[in-house]
């Protein structure tokens, strides 16, 4: 891959003041100072140093790695912007990387578009941008272009971030939601519901003291270890909003199969369980930001499990086989409960609201 000559344009902008104001989005000197001093300095790569309107990426370097470009985008509006285990910056990088990685793609480049509400503290912005860089470095991904807007107070909530990402899918991989077959086994790489529970806990209005951390993490390293040992993965999805239940339903629906999972096999932290019991929530529907559901041929399950558990990323230590794919009823996900009886796990309707009854 050709690298542009570093240091082509000397960065000179210095951001003044403690808070972001409208001039920082105005297109003039203040905006240049913001971009140079905060974003380009933090993200620190040769693409950004060129200070062009676009990042330029060598095509031959991409086609050498695979035969399909994977491209995705996501916007991040999480509240609160700082939560136990991460912040909106970390989330915006990991989420998009994971959306790429579950296709089998090697994630390579990200964009970073921010919409900042007038009044956001510069210190907070720097913390968020630093989190983005750390997450990107951990994943071996570069943030190569971006956009910055500042809006009036009240027009957005502190900061919204959009990241788009591209990666390359190696030729031999065929992973899609429609490939699950009866006899396949279903795996997950660890504890469910950590992110959803951490956010609920952090919101403060429910006054639940806890030590739960979001599981927000870039999963491309884990996925690479899995696919190296077990390239025949049929389906892979990250279980974000809507929880693992939604992903299982998507796969069952796309593949026209039934998926049966064992409640006793699903890894969950005691604290997350406690929070769900207090509020009457179902952990199957809680959001995750570092969990993948993997469907592999039955005879590959042991190998896949071992690869996840042993991954040097340490993000699969609590991996487990949680169920299997069956013939029918088509499109339906069935849970064998801890009590022995069975019930259906449907897609989430609306928002899960804490129960009283």
């Amino acid at each position: 891959m050709t690298t542009p000559t570093p240091g082509l344009r000397k960065r000179s902008g210095i951001l003044r003041g403690d808070t972001i104001n409208m001039s920082h989005g105005g297109g003039g000197k203040a905006m240049r100072d913001l971009i140079e001093d905060v974003f380009i300095t933090a993200f620190d790569n040769a693409h950004l140093d060129l200070m062009e309107d676009q990042a330029r990426i060598d095509l031959s370097a991409l086609t050498a790695r695979g035969d399909r470009l994977a491209m995705t985008t996501d916007s991040y509006v999480v509240d609160p912007i700082f939560f136990p285990g991460g912040d909106i910056g970390k989330l915006s990088v990991c989420g998009t990387i994971n959306d790429l990685a579950v296709s089998g793609a090697v994630p390579l480049y990200l964009t970073c578009g921010v919409i900042i509400e007038e009044g956001l503290s510069v210190a907070d912005l720097r913390t968020i941008v630093k989190s983005m860089k750390e997450a990107a470095d951990r994943a071996g991904v570069k943030i190569v272009t971006g956009d910055t807007k500042v809006v009036d107070r009240g027009a957005c909530d502190k900061i919204f971030i959009n990241t788009a990402g591209v990666g390359v899918i190696p030729k031999h991989l065929q992973i899609d939601a429609g490939r699950a077959r009866p006899g396949d086994m279903v795996l997950i790489n660890g504890y469910i519901g950590d992110h959803g529970a951490a956010i609920l806990g952090a919101r403060g209005d429910l006054s639940l003291e806890n030590n739960i951390l979001s599981d927000c993490a870039p999963l491309n390293g884990l996925i690479n270890d899995l696919l190296t040992a077990c390239p025949e993965v049929h389906c892979m999805r990250d279980a974000t909003r809507g929880g693992m239940a939604s992903v299982l339903n998507e796969i069952a629906g796309s593949s026209n199969v039934s998926i049966k999972i064992k409640e006793t096999a699903i890894p969950i932290r005691p604290e997350v369980r406690g929070m769900c019991e207090i509020l009457g929530l179902d952990p199957l529907y809680l959001a995750n930001e570092g969990k993948i559901i993997v469907v592999v041929p039955g005879d590959q399950a042991d190998k896949a499990l071992e690869a996840l558990q042993r991954s040097s990323s340490l993000l699969g230590r609590e991996s487990a086989v949680i169920g299997e794919v069956k013939d029918g009823p088509e499109g339906i996900v069935i849970l064998q409960t801890t009590f022995g009886g069975e019930r259906i796990v449907d897609m989430l309707v609306g928002d899960q609201l804490p129960r009283i009854c």
Binding site: G201, S207, L208, E209, N210, N211, P270, E271, R273, G274, M275, E277, I278, G280, R355, I356, C357
Partner: protein, 100 residues
């Protein structure tokens, strides 16, 4: 109106207002213990109690003896069933031997 979850009182926060901290599987919350306090059981003596928590109130102290009794009943059921099965098996074996 039923959602209640067992938890353990781990500390008293405010004696006059009957407020304590309950621990449910590692998650802690403030609860009002007015319903489990009386002249025989003071606020301070609630520390360590297992209680049923409902909408921020400790509604009942869990009776450990009754809980054990309920479970023992069910375990004995299993014992009785095993005995019956053993008897039936012995009878069946005896019958088989008799006909041979």
């Amino acid at each position: 109106m039923c959602l209640g979850i067992p938890g353990q009182i781990v500390e008293i926060i405010d004696v006059t207002k009957n407020l304590a901290t309950v621990d449910v599987s590692g998650v802690k919350r403030q609860v009002n213990i007015a319903c489990i306090v009386d002249e025989n059981h003071s606020v301070e003596s609630c520390v360590g109690d297992w209680v049923l928590v409902h909408v921020g109130f400790a509604m009942s102290r869990i009776n450990e003896e009754e809980a054990q009794k309920t479970l023992a009943l069910l375990t004995e059921l299993g014992e009785a069933q095993k005995e019956v099965e053993a008897i039936l098996l012995a009878q069946a074996q005896a019958q088989t031997e008799a006909t041979q």
